[in-house]
């Protein structure tokens, strides 16, 4: 009886642990995807604004496009580590209710 109780105990323990692990991995993946969408969009918007302003002000093509690439790159570097933890925190909070 003790053996079967222990067996049952093992089974009960297995499920929540594995279930929790899968949910955590899913959360991680979703957070990464959502963060990527957000920071790439923000960076594209900022680069787009730069391109627009420099075009209106009639800067040389090299300056416009070179600057756009540089602004996009720096924006990505700034927004990536800022947005990713926020999104993870928000998703984790939603998952825990």
């Amino acid at each position: 009886m003790r053996e079967s109780r222990e067996k049952n105990r093992k089974i009960v323990l297995r499920e929540p642990t594995e279930y929790k692990k899968m949910t955590s991995n899913d959360l991680q993946r979703n957070a990464v995807k959502l963060s990527a969408i957000i920071y790439i969009s923000v960076s594209l918007i900022l680069a787009g604004i730069f391109l627009g302003v420099s075009s209106i002000l009639k800067y040389p093509y090299i300056a416009r496009y070179g600057g756009t690439v540089w602004v996009f790159l720096l924006s990505m570097i700034i927004t990536m580590p800022t947005i990713t933890p926020l999104v993870k925190k928000r998703l984790r909070g939603n998952a825990n209710g």
């Binding site: 093992k10 300056a63 070179g66």
Partner: protein, 870 residues
């Protein structure tokens, strides 16, 4: 390979359980790397805390093993772009006959905490184990295999974790040195080619060196050779959504090189033409950053020298006597109870008790005490010490991780993996700095692009310390250069190393002097101490009191002493032992009491032949309404001589006094005097009465006396002092004074003996020398001074450089900081921190500089009272 931690293991550990492990982490180069590793680990469910250390290339994690495994931690670390270089060992296994033997061994070893994986080969008779050396030792692994019935010995080509770690460091140093040679030498050639048209250089530098294609050919191997590490590390980090200083370097080097390539192959594309090639920027940037990395790698190797020195003390081979035969066996196979033989000039393999023989043993490597210690039968000896002249046999009492040497190594290692509060602040600032730097770089770019170039740009302007003009630069090239320079010049690359390298050097320096700091925070706290409280008995005094006076009152002296000794027979108190010794010295017959009871802080009582006997202080007599008026004057005069006086009564009537005196340690007064010179207030805490306590305090020069303190109230007294706003250190016995030591800002356990791991306290002094308290404070202060200096050198270049890099001087002087000058300043900050830390290796506490003979003459032998705390 056996999966690490099966369901059964989780079941056993289903309740909340905490364990700590230190895992090696390689690839960290800066403080932001440290932050990334810690964040990744802390996000794991079940991890309570995680602290990564750049100087020791490791991470210490507190975790619940039922929720997270070591494999999970390894994955979290590798997911953010770093590696976990586990220790590996090859073992020769004997006794295996089939695949179930393989399974048994893999299961048993795989279930050991700290083992990452094991691969057993039945055909080869070997096993390859991957493990964390801080969590499990190779000896434990071999023992586990032997316990299940197989033989296990280390294969010759197997590596100890120390050798592996040392090898990794050497490889890193070699790699950075090679990178430095390549980038520096090619950088010099490119510099010559870039500037060949200036000054007298055309007369001896060949013209082909100024050709842009030649410059490109020279720069390319540098950018994709030594500079490759920055691009690879940045890519790995970005792939996992983390940014670090490698990104700053990669951006700077990549942008400079790219402009050069564009202007070389497409000179009319509008980036400034073929005169505006920044190959020297790209290459010198690489060279200076690699120089900083090389120096950091050297520093890390040297500052952990203390640990390596301690580990080298451990002999590999021990000579045991089994079945009457002498056998040489690996030291880690010695078991408790084994008898070992040590000959002159040999190192001692394990801790033990001398059985027979006589010798002198050099213990300086553990305690710092230079004079060899005489050892005879019954004396303790310690692993790692050196037998000098004689030969002896001893019985092993502590082996493996239990030896004093192993405990000291563990304490020093643990201390080096902890973070001081100042380091946490520095890491926080530096970690957020990277983001701020990129934001600043973007703002600088936008300013110069839309405003600054039109307002201030002058074609004749040039870089600081360079004749090259910027006439060919357009608005994009100019703004991009400013932006890149800000990125490089703002990089706090030396910050990550500033505090941990100094802490490592400081804890190692302490260990050399027999002072063990239990963490970097202990070092920081010790440096800030304002008040030191010494426990009296056994700390200021030797703790070996003896009877000095017996005053009879109605009985003979011998009867008084005999009664007192019988009552104290069951007492473990030093005063009781002194009375017993005094009675035995007089040859008195000591029968047993019918009953005995200790009254803490007051005395003892017993029933002897129907008589109620009381022995204790005046308070005890008062509480039992015993009139001791006739003895009070005599007691007072004895107390004024600094003696501890105990009243003896029988059946409610006073029958005599016994006075006991202890001896001050020879350095007590010198230690108090030194602390006073350092501006530290000194107090003494004791259970003795005020008069006695005051007398001893005057003899050693102590300012403040906390007398008549019951043992359980010592922590309360410490708290009262802290409530006055003081930072308090308590010096006492690590086991008996544990609550007071734990309450103090710094608990200093003195004369710990062999059980350093059991000592409560933040600082452990191996020797029984009060001057080590002074030395501990001096080492801590020197270490913190070094930390602050390092942080200054790490930050000053950034603080001064950022406005320059952003072009603050440009509108006024038409001067601009080039990217390579910015990199040079960053390399200088690494050089400054490295060299400054290495200076600590030559530090010696002031108190140790005066020879022992001079120290001895400073203190006169005096008589003092022992505490009456019972």
């Amino acid at each position: 390979m056996m999966p690490h931690g099966g369901i059964y293991k989780r079941e056993k550990m289903a309740t909340e359980e905490k364990k700590q492990i230190t895992i090696p982490v390689s690839g960290m180069t800066c403080t932001s790397c440290v932050g990334n590793v810690e964040r990744a680990l802390k996000e794991l469910p079940g991890v309570k805390s995680a602290s990564a250390n750049l100087a020791t290339n490791s991470a210490t994690i507190e975790f619940n093993p039922s929720k997270v495994s070591i494999r999970d931690m390894e994955k979290a670390v590798t997911d953010v772009g770093f590696e976990v270089p586990w220790a590996e060992a090859s073992l020769q296994i004997t006794g295996m006959t089939c695949s179930s033997c393989v399974q048994n061994i893999e299961t048993a070893v795989g279930n050991l905490e700290g083992v990452n994986g094991i691969n057993v080969s039945l055909t080869a008779g070997t096993a390859r184990v991957r493990y964390s050396a801080s969590a499990v030792s190779l000896a434990q692994i071999k023992k586990t295999i032997r316990d299940i019935g197989y033989g296990a010995t280390e294969k010759v080509e197997g590596q100890e974790s120390l050798d592996r770690e040392r090898q990794a460091r050497q490889d890193d140093i070699k790699r950075q040195k090679r990178n430095l040679i390549i980038s520096a030498s090619l950088g010099m050639v490119i510099m010559m080619g870039t500037f060949r048209d200036y000054w007298i250089l055309p007369s001896f530098i060949p013209s082909f060196l100024g050709n842009v294609f030649v410059l490109w050919a020279l720069a390319t191997p540098v950018v994709f050779g030594p500079g490759r590490q920055f691009f690879v590390n940045s890519f790995n980090g970005l792939r996992h959504g983390v940014t670090d200083m490698n990104l700053l370097y990669a951006t700077g080097i990549g942008a400079s090189y790219l402009i050069g390539v564009l202007n070389t192959f497409w000179p009319n594309a509008g980036f400034g033409g073929e005169k505006v090639v920044f190959y020297e920027s790209a290459v010198l940037l690489t060279a200076f950053i690699v120089l900083g990395r090389y120096l950091e790698a050297l520093t890390r190797g040297k500052t952990s020298e203390a640990i390596r020195r301690l580990m080298r003390l451990q002999p590999k081979i021990a000579r045991v006597i089994r079945d009457g035969q002498e056998l040489d066996i690996p030291a880690d196979e010695v078991e408790v109870g084994d008898v070992l033989l040590v000959k002159p000039g040999e190192s001692i393999a394990v801790d033990g008790i001398v059985q027979d023989g006589y010798s002198s043993v050099d213990e300086s490597m553990l305690t710092g005490e230079s004079i060899p210690v005489e050892k005879k039968a019954g004396d303790q000896i310690f692993s790692g010490t050196l037998n000098k002249t004689g030969a002896f046999r001893f019985q092993a009492s502590k082996v493996g991780r239990e030896t004093m040497l192993a405990q000291i190594i563990k304490l020093v290692e643990d201390a080096q993996t902890t973070k001081a509060p100042i380091q946490k602040l520095a890491d926080f600032v530096a970690g957020h700095f990277i983001l701020g730097v990129h934001l600043l770089s973007l703002l600088v770019f936008l300013f110069w692009f839309f405003l600054g170039y039109n307002l201030y740009f002058r074609p004749e302007s040039h870089f600081i310390l360079s004749p090259l003009t910027l006439s060919g630069l357009g608005v994009f090239g100019f703004s991009l250069l400013m932006s890149i320079t800000v990125l490089v010049i703002s990089c706090p690359c030396a910050v990550g190393l500033a505090t941990p390298s100094a802490m490592m050097a400081g804890s190692g320096k302490g260990a050399e002097n027999g002072i063990l700091f239990k963490g970097a925070d202990a070092i920081e706290s010790t440096a800030k101490i304002q008040t030191v409280i010494f426990d009296k008995t056994g700390t200021l005094t030797k703790g070996e009191p003896s009877v000095t006076d017996v005053v009879a009152f109605g009985l003979s002296e011998n009867d008084v002493l005999r009664l007192a000794a019988i009552v104290e027979k069951n007492s473990e108190h030093p005063l009781g032992e002194a009375i017993l010794k005094g009675a035995r010295d007089r040859g008195l017959d000591l029968s047993d009491a019918d009953s005995f009871n200790a009254i803490p802080g007051l005395g003892v009582e017993a029933i002897l032949d129907g008589r109620a006997i009381l022995l204790g202080n005046r308070q005890l007599m008062a509480t039992r309404n015993i009139n001791v008026t006739g003895l009070v004057d005599k007691a007072a005069s004895l107390e004024q001589q600094g003696k501890t006086v105990m009243y003896l009564s029988a059946n409610g009537a006073p029958v005599g006094l016994i006075a006991v005196a202890d001896t001050l340690k020879e350095n007590s007064a010198a230690a108090v005097d030194s602390l006073h010179r350092m501006g530290i207030e000194v107090a003494m805490i004791t259970g003795d009465n005020k008069r006695t306590a005051q007398a001893i305090a005057q003899q050693v020069g102590i300012d403040r006396v906390l007398a008549e303190v019951l043992p359980h109230d010592k922590a309360v007294e410490v708290k009262k002092l802290q409530a006055q706003g003081k930072r308090v250190a308590m010096v006492g016995d690590g086991i008996n004074d544990a609550p007071a030591l734990a309450q103090a800002d710094v608990g200093i356990a003195i004369g710990s003996g062999t059980d350093v791991a059991k000592e409560t306290g933040h600082v452990i002094l191996i020797k029984d020398d009060l001057l080590d308290v002074v030395a501990a404070i001096q080492v801590a202060k020197a270490t913190m001074r070094k930390v602050k200096q390092n942080l200054f050198w790490a930050f000053v270049y950034n603080t001064l450089g950022i406005p320059l890099g952003a072009g603050l001087l440009y509108p006024f002087f038409s001067l601009m900081v080039s990217p390579e000058l910015a990199a040079f300043m960053m390399a200088i900050s690494s050089v400054s921190v490295t060299l400054n830390t290495l200076l600590l290796r030559g530090f010696k506490p002031d108190i140790k500089k005066s020879p022992p003979s001079m120290r001895a003459t400073k203190t006169a032998p005096v008589t003092a009272t022992a505490g009456s705390s019972k």
